[in-house]
Amino acid sequence: MKHLLSTRDLSLEQAVTILDTTARMAATQEREMKKLPTLRGRTVVNLFFEDSTRTRISFETAAKRLSADVINFSAKGSSVSKGESLKDTALTLKAMGADAVVVRHHASGAANFLAQPGLVDVPVINAGDGTHQHPTQALLDAFTIRRHLADPLNPACGGPLPPFDSGLGTDLAGRRIAIVGDVLHSRVARSNVALLATLGAQVTLVAPPTLVPVGVETWPCEVSYDFTRTLRTWQPDAVMMLRVQRERMSASGGGFFPSPAEYSRQYGLDAQRLGLLPDHAIVLHPGPMNRGLEISAQAADSDRSVIVEQVGNGVAVRMAVLYLLLASDQVAGSSSTLS
């Protein structure tokens, strides 16, 4: 593994290795001394062409906890706003001695572009590209799901949180996960469908027909248009709510749905739908949430909700990815440093 561009590139073994490493990283973050010396002297560049405070801070925290230096590069007010191309920006970063590039871009495929041989020549981590992929989000979701569902007898509500290494070494075989909301515009959904399928889970996408992408029949998942029936008859182990942008409801934003109220009634996770879930089921959301639109306050604040925990796990997942890509110079497939 040289880069992390898409969850589709991950084998089952690689995915489980990342989740296991995440468990170890998460355990270190419970200590008083959270900083580890592992990546001392390495420089990680956060290259963010799209506003994303949460993901950027998560990557920055992860790199700093591993003692790497972090350079934040945001497109606003930079050379990019003066018309610099992605390629020239990348070459500038390479010249500055970046050891890894974390990239968030509005164009699908931007991370793959940077990862081309001869461009930056250091590990590239995709932090979200257009409507394509957001692999670290899917990995943190999978980690959170594995931690909670490893022991099927462990109820989601009440009791202490399972240990981080709960489910260590295992995949998600047979787990049922419903992904609900704006699948069409969601890189989180795409990354999750691929990763969860690799991990052996069953996935059902729940969305209005207008928000289901063309070609979804080739994805390794089922599609449902009826949230309530899916909850009642399929009994998912985890429900992942996607963020829905209000603008998409209006005619000018594409008119994907008549009104926020109607969306909320049909596809929102409210107290009543929450009550249909089995005892052990958990509720995820990548954030930021629209309370009252795709998720009600009761659902967001219920015992089943692992939404705040996801944020913490996000730092641990990113530490794991940085460790696996950067700690060793001997990555399979990489050339020797000197010829």
């Binding site: 490493t21 010396p37 591993l66 696996l324």
Partner: protein
């Protein structure tokens, strides 16, 4: 890499090479080390035992049990901990990515305690250097001591053990492997490779 060459003088030569310590030898060495620890520290109060994965963890558990046998007021589970040093190593760049193990500080903590680090083989000393850094991040012990089942020499750092099961002069071409019943289904220390 294990040598399967037959060993002279050792009737039950194993695939691990020539046996230099057997089950009884290891048991005696651990018992002696436990008494040395008690003697040096004038008792077992304020002692904690930290095992370095993989096999140091099992040796630490055996030591803790022996310390508890010497002083029944000592709870072997409370003074036992596991210290993974992977993320503190100085050779991470030159090897394929290493799997990270788990660290479990002893229940009683390490602040103000005398920490006895336990490893199976002491060689270059680099693992112990990493362990000292790892201990520092867990707390501030009163003192840190080092117990090792085998000291095979060839130190690259100014590090020395306080308690040694057996000093085993080796050549750099030789390989020392420790087998413990908790992990390998038998107890023994073997030496292989090199000129015999």
């Amino acid at each position: 890499m294990t040598s399967s060459s037959s060993a002279h003088g050792v009737p039950d030569s194993t695939p691990h090479g020539v046996e230099v310590l057997g089950e009884a030898d290891i048991a005696r060495a651990m018992t002696r080390i436990s008494y040395e620890i008690v003697e040096r520290n004038k008792g077992v109060s304020d002692l904690v035992v930290l095992g370095i994965p993989t096999r140091g963890v099992f040796l630490a558990r055996r030591l803790a049990a022996r310390l508890a046998a010497i002083d029944p007021s000592c709870d072997p589970d409370a003074i036992l901990g596991v210290l993974d040093v992977t993320m503190y190593r100085d050779d991470l760049r030159h090897q394929p990515p290493r799997t990270i193990g788990y660290t479990q500080p002893p229940a009683v903590g390490i602040d103000g305690k005398t920490v006895v680090l336990v490893d199976d083989v002491l060689f270059s000393g680099r693992t112990i250097r990493a362990a000292l850094d790892a201990v520092k991040d867990l707390g501030r012990p009163q003192a840190v001591q080092l117990a090792t089942l085998v000291d095979r020499g060839h130190r690259q750092l100014p590090i020395r053990p306080d308690y040694v099961g057996k000093n085993l002069p080796t050549s750099l071409a030789e390989r020392v492997s420790v087998r413990l019943v908790e992990h390998d289904s038998l107890d023994g220390v073997y030496i292989s490779g090199g000129a015999q």
